[in-house]
């Protein structure tokens, strides 16, 4: 018998384990099937043995074979047998196998007869992992019988003290419910209780189970809605949030009131998602993303959400000076499509975009003008039967663009006619004013065309049209409209007189509007250099004497002039006044289309107009869909763009193929790999006006955003900025400082760990240097001072320092926090700044070097976003970290050595080339020793551990070889105290 056991044990040593099996299969590529069949035979033999370890190994291999597609159901009995063993290791391997493959009858008998008592026993094991494995295994092979028998046990486990067990028990309850539905009712209250479990893991498990249950029968779970609502607003776990939202998706059809409650949190989520979109657009996907958003706009119910989408679309497209737009025709048609929105409040936003694009992108003007003409023509559709609709603001832009760039109009006469329709009089005053003004511009263009064809009658008819229609505007209640209309009316009347005398007037009328209106950057004035010899601070006239009283002030003729205009330049202006002036100036600029707006102000363009925002928005009741006829659909651009890129790509491919054939047939990197941003060339070469600006005013017109010109080749700057520190970090940490390396090598040779204390870790965003020091007050504590240095260009905040405790060393956390909580670093780091934080660790044994893994989490704040980042690091606690520099006199030292209480050992180090005093200094500095006595190239040193052990060190240089020799004596092993 004994011999048999020995034989079994020896055999066991030569058994294949899983790794051998895998290696074997890889080595038998040609006859894999044959090899595996021999392996299976071996496994069968192993399973027949009494030794449970052998069986467990066999089962482990079976798991692998099952994955490869081999039938293992024949081993079911053995699997359950191993499962029931008392050793954790063996059980783990079994829980992986999918036992359902065994036929149902067999499994019922096996499990009920063999393993039920054993599984039950495991369920109540004191070790949480034993129970855990039993539960995992159970999840693979719950049967109705098993479910019935174990339901109450598992329910008890749901209130286990360990959250690890609780969450597993909660999850497995779902399987039990499926197999044994009667258990649902009694278990439900406890399950509900788990939704509010203090452990997030258990909470999420409970949410998972209830969501699965609710999918089958949502009605029963309506009562939980308030609880879930609370969870949704409080939980930070994404997984839980997603699950709850899914659940609400199932619940809302049953309870309409729920929908209303959900709007707020859900729109918050949607906003967050939309904000993400803003950051993820690129030239390549912009059209696609906007197309998707447009679909949502069409489907959206409720104006608020739709308006939100609209502003997002515009934000996304216009960000960084239209950086991502490759085709402005597409953008214009998107804007035009947006005008179809009923009741939006953002008409002015669309309008300002239209103006901005038309003015700044010269190449687009022909197209834009054509689009705007159609818009004007169909203006009645936009305004509908009420003038309060916010969208009519776009007509302002349309009229202005058609007037200003009228030379591009195909049929200016028609547009002129459209602008002077009586219906226009129902538009808001400021729009009418623009209409009137631009009608005059159009008139000039029309005249020129008509006179060119020597059709003087037609020209006179045009004048007549204006004379007929303008009086309507002269009667307008709006002063601006009145003024412009009457002015222009008189002008036209005069022109008509001249025309009747057959005088050609077109030239002169056009001269009224000659010259291009160029946009001026808000700060352009600053760039004008002060001419030589002009002293702005010098008085032009004698300064007014002090005695000058108010009555001497020049009186304003019409209105009282504001004092600020007359104030001399040098007078001190207080901050408030300055701010007010700035505001006023901004307001003025915002209303002037020739100013390039700083981005946010574009929304305030018409703020001073009788509040469009304050007028209650009423839905238009229209049975006919608001489709403006003859408008291009933005979708077609998307297709065109795709075709264009396809073409470009294939061309490029051809070129590349010509250049070189790929070495490997499969390498598809160059062909179908994702295109990089730079590869996409814009369809429209954006002709930015800067280049064309007249020389006289070049300084004035210094475009503040000149990199616009580089738009097509612009690279991903923000991404780069993030990437480079990572790369740098990786690079540096991969090649640690030579000094450190050397020190480490030395340690190895010395056997005793005397490693450097200061280890440089150059990490992701910040640079961390730390130093470990013993705590004088407490023998079981060390203080780690960490220097955080922010090497990035961004602001770092909310830093949290956490270390995975080991048995020996633990991070001291404030009372009441769990061992996995991090410690907040008590400061924030602006770019380039470093600061020091101290963390206390408690240590049990000081004769054991330690490496602790930790993470630092922090928030990186960039200009427009903030991201959560984390950083892993390791803390090395060497034995010398626990030493404290303590001076010692030579007589005391001699006594100590004589006492015989110290153990000693020595070693030789080779290859140390640094001068002896450097070596000493280094040992003193890094390892907390102090020099007791030094004679030539021999020194005795002393230190004390935090627990009071004496450590004596003798360092000698063996002169012939120049090798320092260390003699190391210590009381640590003997514990003299």
């Amino acid at each position: 018998m004994a011999l048999k056991i020995v034989k079994g044990s020896i055999d066991r040593m030569f058994d294949k384990n899983l790794q051998d099996l895998v290696r074997g299969i890889r080595n038998h590529k040609e006859d894999e099937a044959k090899y595996i069949s021999t392996c299976i035979d071996e496994i069968k033999q192993e399973l027949k043995q009494d030794n449970i370890a052998v069986k467990a190994n066999a089962v482990c291999k079976l798991t692998y074979l099952q994955m490869l597609g081999y039938d293992v159901s024949w081993a079911a009995f053995n699997i359950v047998e191993v499962m029931s063993s008392s050793k954790f290791t063996y059980k783990v391997s079994c829980s992986q196998l999918q036992l359902q493959s065994v036929d149902a009858v067999l499994i019922t008998t096996i499990i009920n007869s063999v393993s039920l008592p054993l599984v039950t026993q495991d369920l109540s094991s004191p070790n949480q992992y034993d129970t855990g494995v039993a539960l995992t295994g159970l999840s693979c092979f719950v049967t109705p019988d098993l479910a019935r028998d174990l339901a109450s046990d598992i329910m008890t486990l749901m209130s286990h003290t360990k959250p690890y067990i609780r969450k597993k028990a909660v999850l497995i309850m779902y399987k039990v419910f499926l197999k044994y539905p009667e258990s649902l009712r009694p278990a439900f209250p406890r399950l509900k209780e788990k939704l509010e479990d203090p452990d997030p893991g258990v909470q999420s498990a409970a949410v998972n189970v209830i969501c699965e249950l609710a999918r089958r029968n949502p009605k029963n779970y309506l009562s939980l809605a308030p609880l879930f609502f609370k969870l949704m607003t409080s939980s930070t776990n994404n997984w839980v949030l997603i699950k709850i939202i899914k659940l609400f998706g199932a619940l809302t059809p049953l309870e309409p009131r729920l929908g209303k409650k959900l709007i707020e949190p859900l729109t918050n989520l949607i906003h967050r998602a939309l904000d993400l979109l803003y950051g993820m657009v690129s030239k390549k996907n912009l059209m696609e993303i906007v197309k998707k958003l447009m679909l949502h706009v069409d489907k959206a119910e409720g104006t608020t959400y739709r308006d939100e989408l609209l502003t997002k679309i515009i934000d996304i497209c216009s960000q960084s000076n239209y950086q991502y737009i490759t085709n402005f025709e597409w953008y214009i048609s998107i804007l035009v499509e947006l005008t179809r929105l009923e009741g939006t409040r953002h008409g002015h936003l669309i309008a300002s975009q239209m103006l901005d694009v038309a003015i700044r992108v010269k190449a687009i003007r022909v197209f834009a003008v054509a689009q705007m003409a159609t818009l004007l023509d169909n203006g009645h559709l936009l305004t509908g039967n009420m003038q309060r609709n916010g969208i009519c603001e776009v007509l302002y832009a349309a009229a202005w663009i058609c007037g200003e760039f009228s030379e591009h109009l195909e049929d200016p006469m028609q547009t002129l006619e459209a602008m002077l329709r009586p219906k226009v009089a129902t538009l808001p005053g400021h729009i009418q004013a623009v209409y009137v003004q631009n009608a005059a511009k159009l008139f000039a263009t029309v005249l020129r065309k008509q006179e060119g064809t020597t059709d003087s009658l037609a020209a006179q008819e045009t004048s007549q049209l204006l004379i007929d229609r303008l009086p309507l505007f002269v009667q307008s209640a709006n002063l601006e409209v009145q003024e412009r209309a009457s002015c222009i009316l008189q002008l036209v009347k005069y022109i008509q007189k001249l025309q009747q005398k057959e005088v050609e007037v077109a030239e002169e009328v056009t001269a009224l509007f000659a010259g291009e209106l160029n946009p001026v950057a808000p700060k352009a004035q600053k760039k004008v250099p002060v001419p030589d010899g002009l002293d702005l601070d010098a008085w032009i006239n004698e300064p007014p004497s002090e005695s000058e009283s108010e009555d001497e002030k020049p009186k304003a003729i019409f209105t009282k002039e504001e004092p600020k205009h007359t104030r001399p330049r040098h007078t001190e202006v207080d901050e408030k006044e300055l701010a007010r002036r700035r505001e006023a100036r901004k307001q003025e600029q915002a209303n002037n289309p020739f100013y390039i707006k700083t981005s946010p102000s574009s929304q305030k363009v018409y703020q001073d107009q009788p509040g469009v925002e304050h007028i209650p928005v009423v839905q238009i009741d229209l049975s006919v869909p608001l489709k403006v006829p003859g408008m291009p659909m933005s979708d077609q651009y998307l297709k065109l763009e795709e075709e264009r890129r396809q073409k470009e790509r294939s061309e490029r491919k051809k070129k590349e193929k010509k250049k070189k054939r790929e070495k490997h047939g499969r390498g598809r990197r160059a062909d179908s790999g994702p295109e990089s941003e730079e590869d996409i060339t814009p369809a429209h070469h954006v002709d930015i006006v800067t280049e064309e600006m007249p020389e006289v005013c070049w300084v004035l017109l210094q475009w503040p955003l000149t990199d616009n010109e580089k738009l097509p080749v612009r690279t991903h700057r923000p991404a780069e900025a993030v990437k480079s520190p990572v790369e740098a970090g990786n690079g540096e940490s991969a090649t640690p400082e030579p000094k450190k390396k050397k020190e480490k090598k030395k340690d190895k040779e010395r056997k005793v760990d005397l490693s450097s204390l200061t280890v440089y870790l150059t990490l992701f965003f910040s640079h961390i240097v730390y130093d470990v020091q013993g705590n004088l007050q407490d023998g079981s504590q060390v203080v780690v001072s960490v220097i955080f240095e922010n090497k990035t260009d961004h602001f770092l905040k909310s830093m949290e320092f956490n270390v995975l405790d080991s048995l020996n060393s633990k991070l001291q956390r404030p009372e009441g926090s769990s061992p996995h909580d991090g410690l907040a670093v008590p400061f924030q780091l602006p770019p380039g700044v470093s600061n020091e934080a101290r963390f206390v660790f408690s240590v049990q044994s000081i004769v054991m070097p330690q490496k602790l893994k930790g993470t630092l989490t922090f928030i990186v704040k960039t200009e427009d976003a903030s991201t959560h980042e984390k950083l892993d690091f390791k803390l090395h606690f060497t034995c010398t970290s626990y030493l404290i520099t303590t001076p010692c006199y030579s007589d005391a030292y001699a006594k100590l050595l004589e006492s015989g209480e110290l153990k000693s050992s020595s070693l030789k180090l080779e290859g140390v080339i640094m001068p002896f005093h450097h070596l000493l200094a280094r040992i003193c500095f890094h390892h907390h020793f102090s020099v007791v006595e030094r004679i030539d190239s021999c020194a005795s040193m002393y230190s004390r551990s935090i627990q009071g052990h004496h450590v004596c060190l003798l360092v000698k240089t063996v002169s012939t070889q120049r090798v320092p020799c260390l003699e190391w004596m210590s009381s640590i092993l003997e514990s003299t105290r």
Binding site: L171, S204, A205, W239, L804
Partner: protein
Amino acid sequence: MIKAILIFNNHGKPRLSKFYEHYSEDTEQQIIRETFHLVSKRDENVCNFLEGGMLIGGSDNKLIYRHYATLYFVFCVDSSESELGILDLIQVFVETLDKCFENVCELDLIFHVDKVHHILSEMVMGGMVLETNMNEIITHVDAQNKMEKSEVRAASEARVLSIIILI
């Protein structure tokens, strides 16, 4: 519910398969093959979600996958799961593997498929998501590894002792 978790390489060789529903071995292999065909022909820049193959249950099922270097990680789930949630879960899974194996590569999965199973069983249990917090997962995996090691050491010492005594 998660129906299956598959890892295979660029050539369709399975590196890990875990089915939470019962299929015969043959069907399982066919599912792996089918999934590979569906997933491998997709471009790098297209969506990471697609409709599941016929074998695993047709259109009520979704495949959510990510491609890392030589490996595809595919989760077959039913309509109750959120695609983005699962995508996040794959990321957690891979990061956890990376932590546990220190720069995980295909070979790690080949030779330590049992370990991968352990890690997975800490994340997903019976088709339900058990834990999504990486630190939590790693803590438990480490603790169990320690337990296993100490058991193995004790067992081998006992065996050696028994042999010595008997001889």
